[in-house]
Protein backbone atom coordinates (compact mmCIF):
# COMPACT_ATOMS: atom_id res chain seq x y z
CA UNK A 1 0.00 0.00 0.00
CA UNK A 2 2.83 2.35 0.87
CA UNK A 3 4.43 2.12 -2.55
CA UNK A 4 1.17 2.75 -4.35
CA UNK A 5 0.54 5.82 -2.26
CA UNK A 6 0.96 8.98 -4.28
CA UNK A 7 1.99 10.69 -1.11
CA UNK A 8 5.64 9.74 -1.11
CA UNK A 9 7.99 11.83 0.94
CA UNK A 10 10.21 14.22 -0.94
CA UNK A 11 13.87 13.54 -0.19
CA UNK A 12 15.34 15.78 2.44
CA UNK A 13 16.49 19.00 0.78
CA UNK A 14 20.26 19.18 0.76
CA UNK A 15 20.34 22.92 0.17
CA UNK A 16 19.33 25.02 3.15
CA UNK A 17 15.95 26.65 2.99
CA UNK A 18 16.37 29.89 1.21
CA UNK A 19 12.82 31.03 1.00
CA UNK A 20 10.05 31.11 3.50
CA UNK A 21 6.72 32.75 3.00
CA UNK A 22 4.28 33.53 5.76
CA UNK A 23 2.54 30.35 6.83
CA UNK A 24 3.87 28.27 3.97
CA UNK A 25 7.21 26.64 4.61
CA UNK A 26 8.65 25.40 1.38
CA UNK A 27 11.03 22.60 0.61
CA UNK A 28 12.70 23.32 -2.66
CA UNK A 29 13.75 20.01 -4.12
CA UNK A 30 10.56 18.20 -4.86
CA UNK A 31 11.41 15.58 -7.47
CA UNK A 32 9.80 16.03 -10.81
CA UNK A 33 8.77 19.51 -9.96
CA UNK A 34 12.10 21.24 -9.83
CA UNK A 35 11.61 22.69 -13.29
CA UNK A 36 8.45 24.46 -12.32
CA UNK A 37 8.93 28.11 -11.54
CA UNK A 38 9.42 29.01 -7.93
CA UNK A 39 6.41 31.27 -7.88
CA UNK A 40 4.23 28.42 -9.14
CA UNK A 41 5.53 26.10 -6.46
CA UNK A 42 4.89 28.67 -3.77
CA UNK A 43 1.36 29.11 -5.05
CA UNK A 44 0.86 25.32 -4.93
CA UNK A 45 2.11 25.21 -1.35
CA UNK A 46 -0.15 28.10 -0.39
CA UNK A 47 -3.13 26.25 -1.85
CA UNK A 48 -2.17 23.02 -0.06
CA UNK A 49 -1.86 24.82 3.25
CA UNK A 50 -5.11 26.70 2.72
CA UNK A 51 -6.86 23.32 2.53
CA UNK A 52 -4.90 21.97 5.46
CA UNK A 53 -5.12 24.96 7.78
CA UNK A 54 -8.50 24.53 9.49
CA UNK A 55 -7.95 20.90 10.40
CA UNK A 56 -4.36 21.54 11.39
CA UNK A 57 -5.34 24.34 13.77
CA UNK A 58 -7.93 22.12 15.44
CA UNK A 59 -5.41 19.32 15.92
CA UNK A 60 -2.85 21.75 17.26
CA UNK A 61 -5.26 23.37 19.70
CA UNK A 62 -7.27 20.40 20.91
CA UNK A 63 -4.90 17.43 20.58
CA UNK A 64 -1.23 18.36 20.51
CA UNK A 65 -1.31 21.35 22.82
CA UNK A 66 -3.40 19.67 25.59
CA UNK A 67 -1.19 16.57 25.46
CA UNK A 68 1.95 18.65 26.04
CA UNK A 69 0.19 20.88 28.50
CA UNK A 70 -0.94 17.99 30.72
CA UNK A 71 2.74 17.12 31.19
CA UNK A 72 3.50 20.71 32.18
CA UNK A 73 0.56 21.28 34.52
CA UNK A 74 1.30 17.96 36.22
CA UNK A 75 4.30 19.73 37.76
CA UNK A 76 2.51 22.98 38.54
CA UNK A 77 0.07 24.41 41.01
CA UNK A 78 -2.53 25.58 38.56
CA UNK A 79 -5.53 27.76 39.28
CA UNK A 80 -7.43 29.17 36.30
CA UNK A 81 -6.87 32.89 36.06
CA UNK A 82 -3.74 32.93 38.23
CA UNK A 83 -0.11 32.51 37.21
CA UNK A 84 0.94 28.85 37.58
CA UNK A 85 3.68 27.95 40.08
CA UNK A 86 6.20 25.17 39.65
CA UNK A 87 5.86 22.65 42.46
CA UNK A 88 8.11 19.80 41.29
CA UNK A 89 6.61 16.39 41.94
CA UNK A 90 4.31 17.61 44.74
CA UNK A 91 1.18 16.84 42.67
CA UNK A 92 2.30 13.25 42.20
CA UNK A 93 3.11 12.69 45.90
CA UNK A 94 -0.21 14.23 46.94
CA UNK A 95 -2.13 12.05 44.51
CA UNK A 96 -0.20 8.95 45.61
CA UNK A 97 -1.13 9.58 49.23
CA UNK A 98 -4.83 9.86 48.44
CA UNK A 99 -6.51 6.65 49.68
CA UNK A 100 -8.81 6.85 46.66
CA UNK A 101 -5.77 6.59 44.35
CA UNK A 102 -5.16 2.92 45.13
CA UNK A 103 -8.87 2.19 45.04
CA UNK A 104 -9.28 3.88 41.66
CA UNK A 105 -6.46 1.92 40.00
CA UNK A 106 -7.56 -1.32 41.62
CA UNK A 107 -11.15 -0.79 40.51
CA UNK A 108 -10.12 0.18 37.00
CA UNK A 109 -7.86 -2.87 36.70
CA UNK A 110 -10.54 -5.19 38.09
CA UNK A 111 -13.12 -3.63 35.80
CA UNK A 112 -10.86 -4.17 32.80
CA UNK A 113 -10.08 -7.77 33.68
CA UNK A 114 -13.73 -8.61 34.35
CA UNK A 115 -14.80 -6.86 31.17
CA UNK A 116 -12.25 -8.93 29.27
CA UNK A 117 -13.43 -12.18 30.85
CA UNK A 118 -17.13 -11.52 30.34
CA UNK A 119 -17.01 -9.13 27.41
CA UNK A 120 -14.69 -11.32 25.49
CA UNK A 121 -15.91 -14.88 25.57
CA UNK A 122 -19.57 -13.88 25.22
CA UNK A 123 -19.33 -11.96 21.92
CA UNK A 124 -17.05 -14.60 20.41
CA UNK A 125 -19.48 -17.39 21.21
CA UNK A 126 -22.43 -15.28 20.04
CA UNK A 127 -20.72 -14.54 16.72
CA UNK A 128 -19.76 -18.18 16.31
CA UNK A 129 -23.36 -19.30 16.84
CA UNK A 130 -24.94 -16.58 14.67
CA UNK A 131 -22.53 -17.43 11.88
CA UNK A 132 -23.86 -20.99 11.82
CA UNK A 133 -27.48 -19.91 11.53
CA UNK A 134 -28.93 -19.65 8.05
CA UNK A 135 -32.04 -17.62 8.86
CA UNK A 136 -32.85 -14.19 10.25
CA UNK A 137 -29.25 -13.04 9.94
CA UNK A 138 -30.25 -9.38 9.62
CA UNK A 139 -32.39 -9.69 12.75
CA UNK A 140 -29.47 -10.89 14.86
CA UNK A 141 -27.16 -8.17 13.63
CA UNK A 142 -29.66 -5.38 14.23
CA UNK A 143 -30.75 -6.62 17.64
CA UNK A 144 -27.26 -7.20 18.98
CA UNK A 145 -26.16 -3.73 17.86
CA UNK A 146 -29.24 -1.92 19.17
CA UNK A 147 -27.82 -1.32 22.69
CA UNK A 148 -24.68 0.24 21.19
CA UNK A 149 -26.83 2.95 19.62
CA UNK A 150 -28.60 3.76 22.88
CA UNK A 151 -26.75 6.70 24.46
CA UNK A 152 -24.55 5.45 27.36
CA UNK A 153 -26.30 7.83 29.74
CA UNK A 154 -29.65 6.23 28.91
CA UNK A 155 -28.39 2.67 29.22
CA UNK A 156 -26.73 3.57 32.54
CA UNK A 157 -29.93 5.10 33.92
CA UNK A 158 -31.90 2.12 32.58
CA UNK A 159 -29.71 -0.38 34.42
CA UNK A 160 -29.66 1.76 37.54
CA UNK A 161 -33.42 1.28 37.56
CA UNK A 162 -33.08 -2.46 36.88
CA UNK A 163 -30.64 -2.74 39.80
CA UNK A 164 -33.07 -1.15 42.28
CA UNK A 165 -33.01 -3.66 45.18
CA UNK A 166 -36.75 -3.37 45.85
CA UNK A 167 -38.60 -3.13 42.56
CA UNK A 168 -35.86 -3.48 39.96
CA UNK A 169 -36.08 -5.96 37.13
CA UNK A 170 -32.81 -7.70 38.11
CA UNK A 171 -34.12 -8.84 41.47
CA UNK A 172 -37.53 -9.64 39.98
CA UNK A 173 -35.79 -12.00 37.58
CA UNK A 174 -33.93 -13.65 40.48
CA UNK A 175 -37.19 -14.04 42.43
CA UNK A 176 -38.84 -15.57 39.38
CA UNK A 177 -36.06 -18.17 39.29
CA UNK A 178 -36.28 -18.64 43.10
CA UNK A 179 -32.74 -17.40 43.57
CA UNK A 180 -31.58 -15.17 46.43
CA UNK A 181 -31.77 -11.49 45.55
CA UNK A 182 -28.69 -9.27 45.33
CA UNK A 183 -27.84 -5.69 46.14
CA UNK A 184 -26.38 -5.27 42.64
CA UNK A 185 -24.92 -1.81 42.20
CA UNK A 186 -25.84 -0.87 45.77
CA UNK A 187 -23.57 -3.42 47.46
CA UNK A 188 -19.87 -2.75 47.95
CA UNK A 189 -18.85 -6.22 46.75
CA UNK A 190 -21.28 -6.52 43.83
CA UNK A 191 -21.24 -2.95 42.47
CA UNK A 192 -18.23 -3.31 40.19
CA UNK A 193 -19.49 -6.55 38.62
CA UNK A 194 -22.88 -4.91 38.10
CA UNK A 195 -21.21 -2.09 36.17
CA UNK A 196 -19.26 -4.58 34.06
CA UNK A 197 -22.56 -6.22 33.10
CA UNK A 198 -23.94 -2.85 31.97
CA UNK A 199 -20.83 -2.02 29.96
CA UNK A 200 -20.84 -5.47 28.35
CA UNK A 201 -24.53 -5.28 27.48
CA UNK A 202 -24.08 -1.85 25.98
CA UNK A 203 -20.94 -2.54 23.96
CA UNK A 204 -20.78 -6.15 22.87
CA UNK A 205 -22.74 -5.51 19.65
CA UNK A 206 -19.77 -3.88 17.97
CA UNK A 207 -17.48 -6.74 18.95
CA UNK A 208 -19.94 -9.33 17.67
CA UNK A 209 -20.21 -7.60 14.29
CA UNK A 210 -16.44 -7.43 13.90
CA UNK A 211 -16.07 -11.11 14.80
CA UNK A 212 -18.80 -11.99 12.32
CA UNK A 213 -16.92 -10.19 9.57
CA UNK A 214 -13.75 -12.04 10.53
CA UNK A 215 -15.51 -15.42 10.62
CA UNK A 216 -16.86 -14.87 7.14
CA UNK A 217 -13.33 -14.45 5.85
CA UNK A 218 -12.33 -17.96 6.93
CA UNK A 219 -12.12 -20.13 3.80
CA UNK A 220 -14.64 -22.97 3.94
CA UNK A 221 -12.04 -25.44 2.62
CA UNK A 222 -10.21 -25.26 5.93
CA UNK A 223 -13.28 -26.59 7.73
CA UNK A 224 -13.81 -29.20 5.03
CA UNK A 225 -10.22 -30.40 5.30
CA UNK A 226 -10.43 -30.53 9.08
CA UNK A 227 -13.65 -32.49 8.87
CA UNK A 228 -12.12 -34.99 6.46
CA UNK A 229 -9.34 -35.45 8.98
CA UNK A 230 -12.02 -36.37 11.49
CA UNK A 231 -11.93 -33.20 13.61
CA UNK A 232 -14.97 -32.71 15.82
CA UNK A 233 -16.85 -29.40 15.97
CA UNK A 234 -14.92 -28.38 19.06
CA UNK A 235 -11.59 -29.31 17.46
CA UNK A 236 -12.51 -27.32 14.37
CA UNK A 237 -13.18 -24.26 16.56
CA UNK A 238 -9.86 -24.75 18.30
CA UNK A 239 -7.68 -25.52 15.32
CA UNK A 240 -9.36 -23.57 12.52
CA UNK A 241 -11.57 -20.76 13.84
CA UNK A 242 -9.37 -19.48 16.65
CA UNK A 243 -6.07 -19.45 14.70
CA UNK A 244 -7.79 -17.85 11.72
CA UNK A 245 -9.27 -15.04 13.81
CA UNK A 246 -6.36 -14.69 16.23
CA UNK A 247 -5.33 -11.33 14.84
CA UNK A 248 -8.82 -9.81 15.19
CA UNK A 249 -9.12 -11.26 18.68
CA UNK A 250 -5.87 -9.62 19.72
CA UNK A 251 -6.84 -6.29 18.17
CA UNK A 252 -10.20 -6.20 19.87
CA UNK A 253 -8.65 -7.21 23.16
CA UNK A 254 -6.26 -4.27 23.06
CA UNK A 255 -8.99 -1.87 21.95
CA UNK A 256 -11.21 -3.08 24.74
CA UNK A 257 -8.50 -2.62 27.34
CA UNK A 258 -7.95 0.93 26.12
CA UNK A 259 -11.67 1.67 26.20
CA UNK A 260 -12.50 0.12 29.55
CA UNK A 261 -9.55 1.75 31.30
CA UNK A 262 -11.30 5.04 30.50
CA UNK A 263 -14.67 4.06 31.94
CA UNK A 264 -16.55 6.99 33.42
CA UNK A 265 -20.24 7.27 32.52
CA UNK A 266 -21.41 4.03 34.15
CA UNK A 267 -19.84 4.63 37.60
CA UNK A 268 -20.72 8.33 37.52
CA UNK A 269 -24.38 7.77 36.67
CA UNK A 270 -25.13 4.46 38.40
CA UNK A 271 -23.11 4.44 41.61
CA UNK A 272 -21.46 7.83 41.95
CA UNK A 273 -18.23 5.98 42.74
CA UNK A 274 -19.71 4.24 45.76
CA UNK A 275 -20.54 2.34 47.79
CA UNK A 276 -17.37 2.78 49.86
CA UNK A 277 -15.31 3.87 46.83
CA UNK A 278 -15.81 0.43 45.31
CA UNK A 279 -16.49 1.84 41.85
CA UNK A 280 -14.27 4.94 41.72
CA UNK A 281 -12.29 4.66 38.48
CA UNK A 282 -9.16 6.54 37.44
CA UNK A 283 -11.07 8.81 35.07
CA UNK A 284 -13.66 9.46 37.75
CA UNK A 285 -10.87 10.44 40.12
CA UNK A 286 -9.43 12.80 37.48
CA UNK A 287 -12.87 14.38 37.18
CA UNK A 288 -13.14 14.72 40.96
CA UNK A 289 -9.71 16.35 41.28
CA UNK A 290 -10.52 18.89 38.58
CA UNK A 291 -14.13 19.75 39.32
CA UNK A 292 -14.69 18.90 42.98
CA UNK A 293 -11.32 19.71 44.54
CA UNK A 294 -10.39 22.35 41.93
CA UNK A 295 -6.95 20.70 41.89
CA UNK A 296 -5.95 20.81 38.22
CA UNK A 297 -2.33 19.93 39.00
CA UNK A 298 -3.41 16.70 40.65
CA UNK A 299 -5.86 15.97 37.83
CA UNK A 300 -3.09 16.41 35.24
CA UNK A 301 -0.68 14.25 37.25
CA UNK A 302 -3.27 11.47 37.15
CA UNK A 303 -3.95 12.12 33.45
CA UNK A 304 -0.26 11.75 32.64
CA UNK A 305 -0.13 8.38 34.39
CA UNK A 306 -3.20 7.15 32.50
CA UNK A 307 -1.81 8.63 29.29
CA UNK A 308 1.49 6.77 29.55
CA UNK A 309 -0.12 3.46 30.39
CA UNK A 310 -2.77 3.63 27.68
CA UNK A 311 -0.30 5.13 25.22
CA UNK A 312 1.77 1.97 25.58
CA UNK A 313 -1.27 -0.18 24.76
CA UNK A 314 -2.17 2.06 21.80
CA UNK A 315 1.38 1.95 20.46
CA UNK A 316 1.26 -1.83 20.59
CA UNK A 317 -2.09 -1.79 18.80
CA UNK A 318 -0.88 0.50 16.04
CA UNK A 319 2.31 -1.51 15.62
CA UNK A 320 0.38 -4.73 15.21
CA UNK A 321 -2.14 -3.26 12.76
CA UNK A 322 0.61 -1.69 10.68
CA UNK A 323 2.61 -4.88 10.32
CA UNK A 324 -0.60 -6.52 9.16
CA UNK A 325 -0.91 -3.93 6.42
CA UNK A 326 2.23 -4.99 4.63
Amino acid sequence: METASPHTAPPRPTAPHTTRTAGAPVSLKTPGRSRRPLRRRLADQATAYAFLLGGLLCFALFSWYPALRSMVIAFQKYTPGAAPEWVGTANFTRVFQDPEFGAAWRNTATFTVLALLIGFAVPFVLALVINELRHARAFFRVVVYLPVMIPPVVSSLLWKWFYDPGTGLANEALRLLHLPTSNWSNGADTALVSLVIVATWANLGGTVLIYLAALQNIPGELYEAAELDGASVWQRVRHVTVPQTRFVILMLMLLQIIATMQVFTEPFVITGGGPENSTVTVLYLIYKYAFLYNDFGGACALSVMLLLLLGAFSALYLRLTRTDDR
Binding site: A4, A48, F140, I150, G311
Partner: protein, 297 residues
Protein backbone atom coordinates in the same frame (compact mmCIF):
# COMPACT_ATOMS: atom_id res chain seq x y z
CA UNK B 1 -31.61 -24.05 0.37
CA UNK B 2 -30.04 -24.85 -2.96
CA UNK B 3 -26.79 -26.65 -3.49
CA UNK B 4 -25.06 -23.42 -4.55
CA UNK B 5 -26.09 -21.68 -1.34
CA UNK B 6 -24.63 -24.42 0.76
CA UNK B 7 -21.33 -24.19 -1.07
CA UNK B 8 -21.14 -20.47 -0.67
CA UNK B 9 -21.56 -20.47 3.06
CA UNK B 10 -19.57 -23.45 4.27
CA UNK B 11 -18.86 -22.72 7.93
CA UNK B 12 -18.04 -24.64 11.06
CA UNK B 13 -20.81 -27.19 10.73
CA UNK B 14 -21.02 -28.93 7.38
CA UNK B 15 -24.20 -28.63 5.31
CA UNK B 16 -24.34 -32.41 5.25
CA UNK B 17 -24.67 -32.63 9.03
CA UNK B 18 -27.24 -29.84 8.97
CA UNK B 19 -29.24 -31.63 6.29
CA UNK B 20 -29.66 -34.85 8.25
CA UNK B 21 -32.93 -35.25 10.20
CA UNK B 22 -31.09 -35.05 13.50
CA UNK B 23 -29.16 -32.01 12.27
CA UNK B 24 -32.38 -30.27 11.27
CA UNK B 25 -33.95 -30.78 14.68
CA UNK B 26 -30.80 -29.57 16.38
CA UNK B 27 -30.54 -26.57 14.08
CA UNK B 28 -34.08 -25.39 14.70
CA UNK B 29 -33.75 -25.92 18.45
CA UNK B 30 -30.59 -23.83 18.55
CA UNK B 31 -32.15 -21.25 16.24
CA UNK B 32 -35.24 -20.82 18.43
CA UNK B 33 -33.10 -20.68 21.54
CA UNK B 34 -30.85 -17.99 20.10
CA UNK B 35 -33.78 -15.89 18.86
CA UNK B 36 -35.41 -16.04 22.29
CA UNK B 37 -32.16 -15.29 24.11
CA UNK B 38 -31.43 -12.30 21.86
CA UNK B 39 -34.93 -10.94 22.25
CA UNK B 40 -34.75 -11.35 26.03
CA UNK B 41 -31.28 -9.87 26.40
CA UNK B 42 -31.42 -6.97 23.96
CA UNK B 43 -35.03 -6.20 23.09
CA UNK B 44 -36.77 -6.83 26.39
CA UNK B 45 -34.86 -4.10 28.32
CA UNK B 46 -35.88 -1.63 25.63
CA UNK B 47 -39.48 -2.86 25.75
CA UNK B 48 -39.40 -2.52 29.55
CA UNK B 49 -38.23 1.07 29.23
CA UNK B 50 -40.79 2.06 26.60
CA UNK B 51 -43.70 0.51 28.50
CA UNK B 52 -42.38 1.61 31.90
CA UNK B 53 -42.97 5.22 30.97
CA UNK B 54 -46.57 4.34 30.11
CA UNK B 55 -47.40 2.83 33.49
CA UNK B 56 -48.85 4.82 36.35
CA UNK B 57 -46.35 5.62 39.15
CA UNK B 58 -48.08 3.03 41.41
CA UNK B 59 -48.00 0.32 38.80
CA UNK B 60 -44.34 1.00 38.04
CA UNK B 61 -43.15 0.08 41.54
CA UNK B 62 -45.48 -2.90 42.02
CA UNK B 63 -44.01 -6.34 42.82
CA UNK B 64 -44.33 -8.54 40.93
CA UNK B 65 -44.35 -6.09 38.04
CA UNK B 66 -46.95 -6.10 35.29
CA UNK B 67 -45.68 -7.27 31.94
CA UNK B 68 -48.07 -5.04 30.02
CA UNK B 69 -49.26 -1.64 31.29
CA UNK B 70 -52.81 -1.81 32.69
CA UNK B 71 -53.69 1.39 30.92
CA UNK B 72 -51.46 2.85 28.27
CA UNK B 73 -50.76 6.41 29.36
CA UNK B 74 -48.64 8.92 27.53
CA UNK B 75 -48.28 11.20 30.55
CA UNK B 76 -44.78 9.88 31.27
CA UNK B 77 -43.67 11.20 27.91
CA UNK B 78 -45.64 14.43 27.88
CA UNK B 79 -44.58 15.29 31.45
CA UNK B 80 -40.96 14.60 30.59
CA UNK B 81 -41.26 16.80 27.52
CA UNK B 82 -42.43 19.73 29.62
CA UNK B 83 -40.96 19.19 33.11
CA UNK B 84 -37.44 18.50 31.92
CA UNK B 85 -37.60 21.09 29.10
CA UNK B 86 -36.64 18.39 26.64
CA UNK B 87 -37.30 20.52 23.52
CA UNK B 88 -34.52 22.86 24.55
CA UNK B 89 -32.04 20.10 25.45
CA UNK B 90 -32.85 18.16 22.30
CA UNK B 91 -32.33 21.32 20.28
CA UNK B 92 -28.97 21.90 22.01
CA UNK B 93 -27.94 18.35 21.15
CA UNK B 94 -29.02 18.77 17.53
CA UNK B 95 -27.08 22.05 17.24
CA UNK B 96 -23.96 20.53 18.80
CA UNK B 97 -24.11 17.34 16.74
CA UNK B 98 -24.89 18.92 13.39
CA UNK B 99 -22.29 21.67 13.79
CA UNK B 100 -19.64 19.13 14.76
CA UNK B 101 -20.63 17.00 11.79
CA UNK B 102 -20.51 19.89 9.31
CA UNK B 103 -17.17 21.26 10.51
CA UNK B 104 -15.68 17.80 10.61
CA UNK B 105 -16.80 17.00 7.08
CA UNK B 106 -15.56 20.31 5.67
CA UNK B 107 -12.24 20.61 7.50
CA UNK B 108 -11.29 16.91 7.65
CA UNK B 109 -12.11 16.44 3.97
CA UNK B 110 -10.07 19.49 3.01
CA UNK B 111 -7.13 18.41 5.16
CA UNK B 112 -7.29 14.82 3.93
CA UNK B 113 -7.39 16.09 0.33
CA UNK B 114 -4.34 18.28 0.94
CA UNK B 115 -2.40 15.48 2.62
CA UNK B 116 -3.34 12.95 -0.02
CA UNK B 117 -3.06 14.92 -3.26
CA UNK B 118 -1.48 18.36 -2.85
CA UNK B 119 1.97 17.39 -1.50
CA UNK B 120 2.27 20.06 1.18
CA UNK B 121 5.75 20.60 2.54
CA UNK B 122 6.19 18.63 5.79
CA UNK B 123 3.09 16.64 4.86
CA UNK B 124 4.61 13.42 6.22
CA UNK B 125 5.43 15.09 9.52
CA UNK B 126 1.92 16.51 9.84
CA UNK B 127 0.33 13.17 9.00
CA UNK B 128 2.57 11.51 11.57
CA UNK B 129 1.50 14.04 14.17
CA UNK B 130 -2.15 13.41 13.38
CA UNK B 131 -1.76 9.63 13.50
CA UNK B 132 0.11 9.92 16.79
CA UNK B 133 -3.05 11.34 18.37
CA UNK B 134 -4.65 7.95 17.73
CA UNK B 135 -2.36 6.66 20.46
CA UNK B 136 -3.53 9.25 22.94
CA UNK B 137 -6.67 8.10 24.71
CA UNK B 138 -9.31 10.79 24.29
CA UNK B 139 -10.60 10.75 27.84
CA UNK B 140 -7.20 10.96 29.50
CA UNK B 141 -6.81 14.44 28.05
CA UNK B 142 -10.16 15.95 29.00
CA UNK B 143 -8.77 18.12 31.78
CA UNK B 144 -6.02 19.91 29.81
CA UNK B 145 -8.44 20.11 26.87
CA UNK B 146 -10.98 21.72 29.17
CA UNK B 147 -8.40 24.25 30.36
CA UNK B 148 -7.55 25.03 26.73
CA UNK B 149 -11.18 25.58 25.80
CA UNK B 150 -11.75 27.69 28.89
CA UNK B 151 -8.93 30.02 27.88
CA UNK B 152 -7.84 29.68 24.26
CA UNK B 153 -4.12 30.33 23.83
CA UNK B 154 -3.24 33.74 22.28
CA UNK B 155 -6.88 34.74 21.86
CA UNK B 156 -7.73 34.38 25.55
CA UNK B 157 -11.39 33.78 24.98
CA UNK B 158 -13.48 31.14 26.67
CA UNK B 159 -15.59 28.71 24.67
CA UNK B 160 -17.32 27.31 27.76
CA UNK B 161 -21.11 27.10 27.38
CA UNK B 162 -20.67 27.69 23.65
CA UNK B 163 -21.39 25.01 21.02
CA UNK B 164 -17.96 25.83 19.54
CA UNK B 165 -16.51 23.95 22.52
CA UNK B 166 -17.98 20.79 20.97
CA UNK B 167 -17.58 21.72 17.31
CA UNK B 168 -13.89 22.59 17.16
CA UNK B 169 -12.42 19.67 19.16
CA UNK B 170 -14.60 17.31 17.10
CA UNK B 171 -12.55 18.26 14.03
CA UNK B 172 -9.40 16.86 15.65
CA UNK B 173 -10.58 13.34 14.84
CA UNK B 174 -7.59 11.43 13.51
CA UNK B 175 -9.60 8.31 12.81
CA UNK B 176 -12.05 10.00 10.45
CA UNK B 177 -9.34 12.05 8.78
CA UNK B 178 -7.29 8.92 8.17
CA UNK B 179 -10.31 7.08 6.74
CA UNK B 180 -10.83 9.94 4.28
CA UNK B 181 -7.14 10.19 3.39
CA UNK B 182 -6.88 6.50 2.69
CA UNK B 183 -9.91 6.68 0.48
CA UNK B 184 -8.50 9.64 -1.45
CA UNK B 185 -5.18 7.81 -1.82
CA UNK B 186 -6.92 5.14 -3.87
CA UNK B 187 -8.18 7.67 -6.42
CA UNK B 188 -5.65 7.70 -9.29
CA UNK B 189 -3.81 10.96 -9.77
CA UNK B 190 -4.62 10.89 -13.51
CA UNK B 191 -8.29 11.46 -12.79
CA UNK B 192 -7.52 14.67 -10.93
CA UNK B 193 -4.88 15.81 -13.41
CA UNK B 194 -7.35 15.38 -16.26
CA UNK B 195 -9.69 17.73 -14.44
CA UNK B 196 -6.90 20.21 -13.92
CA UNK B 197 -6.01 20.19 -17.59
CA UNK B 198 -9.64 21.02 -18.26
CA UNK B 199 -9.08 24.11 -16.17
CA UNK B 200 -10.64 23.06 -12.87
CA UNK B 201 -9.10 24.56 -9.72
CA UNK B 202 -8.26 22.47 -6.64
CA UNK B 203 -11.50 23.31 -4.90
CA UNK B 204 -13.51 22.42 -7.97
CA UNK B 205 -11.59 19.14 -8.37
CA UNK B 206 -12.35 18.25 -4.78
CA UNK B 207 -15.98 19.26 -5.00
CA UNK B 208 -16.98 17.89 -8.41
CA UNK B 209 -14.72 14.87 -8.79
CA UNK B 210 -13.38 13.57 -5.51
CA UNK B 211 -16.40 14.12 -3.26
CA UNK B 212 -18.97 12.42 -5.53
CA UNK B 213 -16.66 9.40 -5.66
CA UNK B 214 -16.33 9.39 -1.87
CA UNK B 215 -19.98 9.09 -0.97
CA UNK B 216 -19.65 5.78 0.91
CA UNK B 217 -16.77 6.93 3.10
CA UNK B 218 -18.44 10.30 3.71
CA UNK B 219 -21.53 8.43 4.87
CA UNK B 220 -19.52 6.38 7.35
CA UNK B 221 -17.68 9.44 8.65
CA UNK B 222 -20.97 11.34 8.98
CA UNK B 223 -22.60 8.61 11.01
CA UNK B 224 -19.55 8.26 13.29
CA UNK B 225 -19.45 12.03 13.80
CA UNK B 226 -23.14 12.39 14.65
CA UNK B 227 -23.27 9.37 16.96
CA UNK B 228 -20.13 10.44 18.81
CA UNK B 229 -21.53 13.84 19.75
CA UNK B 230 -25.01 12.58 20.54
CA UNK B 231 -23.66 9.95 22.91
CA UNK B 232 -20.89 11.92 24.55
CA UNK B 233 -21.30 12.63 28.22
CA UNK B 234 -18.10 13.59 30.06
CA UNK B 235 -17.04 16.38 27.71
CA UNK B 236 -20.41 18.21 27.59
CA UNK B 237 -20.72 17.66 31.34
CA UNK B 238 -17.50 19.61 31.81
CA UNK B 239 -18.06 22.28 29.20
CA UNK B 240 -21.72 23.18 29.68
CA UNK B 241 -22.25 24.26 33.28
CA UNK B 242 -25.14 26.47 32.16
CA UNK B 243 -28.27 24.30 32.39
CA UNK B 244 -29.89 26.05 29.43
CA UNK B 245 -27.02 25.04 27.14
CA UNK B 246 -26.74 21.40 28.16
CA UNK B 247 -27.37 18.60 25.68
CA UNK B 248 -29.90 15.95 26.57
CA UNK B 249 -27.36 13.44 27.93
CA UNK B 250 -26.12 15.87 30.58
CA UNK B 251 -29.59 17.22 31.39
CA UNK B 252 -30.94 13.69 31.93
CA UNK B 253 -28.35 12.94 34.59
CA UNK B 254 -28.56 16.34 36.26
CA UNK B 255 -32.36 16.17 36.51
CA UNK B 256 -32.67 12.46 37.22
CA UNK B 257 -32.84 12.95 40.99
CA UNK B 258 -35.61 15.54 40.92
CA UNK B 259 -38.30 13.98 38.76
CA UNK B 260 -40.67 11.01 39.26
CA UNK B 261 -39.41 7.71 37.85
CA UNK B 262 -42.07 7.50 35.10
CA UNK B 263 -41.06 10.95 33.88
CA UNK B 264 -37.36 10.06 33.92
CA UNK B 265 -37.99 6.88 31.96
CA UNK B 266 -40.08 8.83 29.44
CA UNK B 267 -37.19 11.25 29.00
CA UNK B 268 -34.74 8.35 28.57
CA UNK B 269 -36.85 6.93 25.74
CA UNK B 270 -37.05 10.34 24.08
CA UNK B 271 -33.27 10.77 24.36
CA UNK B 272 -32.60 7.36 22.83
CA UNK B 273 -35.24 7.59 20.09
CA UNK B 274 -33.34 9.70 17.53
CA UNK B 275 -30.35 7.33 17.70
CA UNK B 276 -32.55 4.24 17.40
CA UNK B 277 -34.45 5.71 14.45
CA UNK B 278 -31.18 6.65 12.75
CA UNK B 279 -29.88 3.14 13.34
CA UNK B 280 -32.97 1.48 11.90
CA UNK B 281 -32.86 3.75 8.84
CA UNK B 282 -29.14 3.34 8.16
CA UNK B 283 -28.63 -0.11 9.69
CA UNK B 284 -27.29 -1.64 6.50
CA UNK B 285 -24.62 1.04 6.13
CA UNK B 286 -23.73 1.10 9.82
CA UNK B 287 -23.40 -2.66 10.12
CA UNK B 288 -21.50 -2.97 6.85
CA UNK B 289 -19.25 -0.09 7.90
CA UNK B 290 -18.30 -1.75 11.17
CA UNK B 291 -17.56 -5.09 9.57
CA UNK B 292 -15.55 -3.55 6.72
CA UNK B 293 -13.75 -1.03 8.88
CA UNK B 294 -12.40 -3.75 11.11
CA UNK B 295 -11.04 -6.17 8.56
CA UNK B 296 -9.67 -3.60 6.17
CA UNK B 297 -8.09 -1.51 8.88
Amino acid sequence: MTQADQRAVRTLVSPLTLGSPRGKVLYWTVFTGVVLAFALAFLFPVYWMVTGAMKSPDELVRTPPTLVPESWQLTGYTDAWELMSLPRHLWNTVVQASGAWLLQIVLCTAAAFALSKLRPAFGKVILGGILATLMVPVQALVVPKYLTVADLPLLHISLLNDPLAVWLPAVANAFNLYLLKRFFDQVPRDVLEAAEIDGAGKLRTLWSILLPMSRPVLGVVSIFALVAVWQDFLWPLMVFSDTGKQPISVALVQLSQNVPLTVLIGAMVIAALPMIVMFLVFQRHIIAGIGAGSTKG
